[in-house]
């Protein structure tokens, strides 16, 4: 069955928009939660500025149980919670909820890894100068880790494009949904090729953007 391209292009455009919304919204919310969780995870570590075993263990445990679950299973597993929070389990908005949870914990780990690579001597120096823990977080930890952090976020945002496609297959909308219904269920290779091309372009742009920004910050 041939595709009617004149009606199809607007659909593609709409789906691209949905994917972008899912990815960008998730990236924004995920970054906010992820950076907070990642910072908490780092500063509550043993011998760190706000050492707290309970908080550290709890966060570490949460990250370790959520991250290994395949996204498609997680998506289905928390659908009741999604309905409770978002009011629905279908559509772009509904997809953003589980994506944000997974992104938050992934970003938290990325943030923590970047913070660990900061020279502890620099933190000690700030402490010796009389900086408070909160001050150290905002004026030392974040600026010192920002360059690699942007690269980490770029990496995550590319994974989110992938997640959005997965969400699309179970009613999340976006390019994933189109590829699934037209390409997979109707065996239409041309639609599949178009969506794949759009996804490739998106990933390229995201990576280029991330590289440019981090380069500017790291001055290398």
């Amino acid at each position: 069955m041939a595709v009617d391209w004149s009606t199809f292009w607007p659909r593609i455009l709409e789906a691209t928009g949905e994917t972008l919304i899912m990815v960008i919204a998730t990236l924004i919310f995920g970054s906010i939660f992820g950076i907070v969780i990642g910072l908490l995870l780092f500063v509550t570590r043993e011998n760190n500025i706000l050492e707290n075993k309970v908080v550290f263990q709890l966060l570490n445990f949460l990250i370790n149980i959520i991250r290994p679950i395949p996204f498609i299973i997680f998506l289905v597993a928390i659908s009741q919670l999604t309905r409770l929070v978002m009011g629905t389990t279908i559509g772009t908005a509904a997809a953003i909820f589980p994506m944000t949870i997974v992104a938050s914990f992934t970003i938290a780990r990325v943030v923590e890894n970047n913070l660990v690579s900061i020279d502890p001597g620099v933190i000690e120096a700030a402490k010796a100068m009389g900086a408070s823990p909160l001050r150290i977080i905002f004026t030392v930890l974040i600026p010192e880790a920002l360059g690699p952090l942007i690269l980490g976020l770029t990496f995550v945002s590319i994974a989110l494009i992938d997640f959005s496609a997965v969400a699309g297959t179970v009613g999340g909308g976006g390019l994933g949904h189109i590829a699934m219904t037209y390409g997979y269920q109707r065996f239409d290779a041309s639609v599949m090729i178009v969506t794949v091309l759009i996804l490739i372009v998106m990933v390229q742009i995201a990576q280029w953007l991330g590289n440019t920004i981090s380069k500017k910050i790291m001055r290398r």
Binding site: D119, V122, E124, A125, G130, R135, E144, I217
Partner: protein
């Protein structure tokens, strides 16, 4: 200025308790450049961190200008820390900030206005000789320049005390000498009391007025640098001193000396004024004998001279003994025995 009173610090390593600092009592007076020397693992780094409570004592107290710093609440401790500049072996500069940004950091912490920060930063850059590097990032600087930035940053909040954690250990000899000169200037021009730790006796010799030697967490010897160098008591102290001044010729040279029929060798130590007076030649002339300087050095410690000479006397043995007796009244003189004798 700084006083350690019976300070002990233990760390838990697995199930064991390891004492890094054991019952140390030290007093650092205003205006001192006080050096603590020890091999790595001696506990000096921990001791230094007790001054600004980066480490807290397990037992004992640390007092700064009379205040028990261990008892200060968090906020007061942070204010106290602004009065204690600290520099590090690896400089610990903020990579994300420029040179000027690094120096401005403690000033921002102290809540100083932007305009004042600007002028203070310029003043400090001039003091450490880096006026042209204000906009550079630390990664663009050499080791010596980085340490200058570290010093400027530590001085920014006009502290009374500067503590130095192996500040020259990552630098080459020339740069080390530059940085030591700068520290001396900090002490003499700004009147800042300096407490430093090092494993290099050369650092102690060139700028300190007092020294403490640490081993296994304990202070095994302490005193004025001149006294410690001229009359070391502990074996470890002697080893440190020998690392910067060889007081005897090598065994090989001593052996050759004896085998070639050279006479008995005497070691004479001149301290302070006696290093300037021509004691040796006047005494020898009085008894009409000659002497031969085989080996030796004269050096400056704490702006006083200290001489160490190995000599042999040529002439009548009775007269030689008289000369030695006379010299003993004024200087420290001993016969040199080589280890194989």
């Amino acid at each position: 200025m700084i006083e350690f009173r019976n300070v002990t610090k233990t760390f838990k390593v697995g199930k064991n308790e390891v004492a890094a600092v054991k019952n140390v009592s030290l007093q650092i007076d205003k205006g001192d450049i006080y050096g603590i020397i020890g091999f790595s693992g001696a506990g000096k780094s921990t001791l230094l961190r007790l001054v600004n409570m980066l480490e807290r004592p397990t037992n004992g107290t640390v007092h700064i200008q009379g205040t028990d710093v261990g008892k200060l609440p968090a906020k007061k401790l942070r204010t106290q820390r602004q009065n204690i500049g600290m520099i590090f072996q690896n400089f610990n500069l903020f990579q994300s900030r420029t040179v000027a940004g690094n120096i401005a950091y403690p000033l921002k912490l102290a809540g100083i206005s932007k305009a004042k920060i600007q002028s203070r930063v310029n003043e400090l850059l001039q003091f450490v000789g880096l006026e042209d590097k204000a906009k550079h990032y630390p990664e663009q600087l050499s080791g010596g320049q980085k340490q200058r930035v570290g010093i400027a940053r530590a001085l920014a909040s006009s502290p009374d005390i500067l503590i130095c954690d192996e500040a020259t250990s990552a630098l080459d000899p020339n740069t080390t000498a530059d940085i030591l000169r700068l520290l001396k200037k900090v002490n003499s021009d700004l009147g800042i009391t300096i407490l430093l730790i090092t494993h290099e006796m050369g650092v102690i010799q060139s700028i300190c007025n007092k020294v403490a030697i640490m081993e296994n967490g304990e202070v095994i010897e302490k005193g004025r640098v001149f006294d410690t160098f001229t009359d070391p008591q502990h074996e470890t102290t002697q080893r440190f001193i020998q690392s910067v001044q060889q007081d005897l010729p090598s065994e090989q040279v001593l052996k050759e000396w004896t085998e070639s029929g050279g006479g008995t060798l005497y070691r004479i130590l001149f301290k302070g004024d006696s290093a300037i007076d021509p004691i040796l030649s006047t005494t020898a002339r009085k008894y009409d004998i000659d002497f031969n300087i085989v080996y030796g050095s004269v050096r400056e410690l704490e702006e006083r001279l200290f001489g160490n000479l190995i000599i042999s006397f040529i002439g009548d043995s009775d007269k030689t003994n008289q000369v030695i007796q006379e010299l003993e009244k004024i200087v420290d003189i001993k016969e040199v025995y080589a280890s194989w004798q």
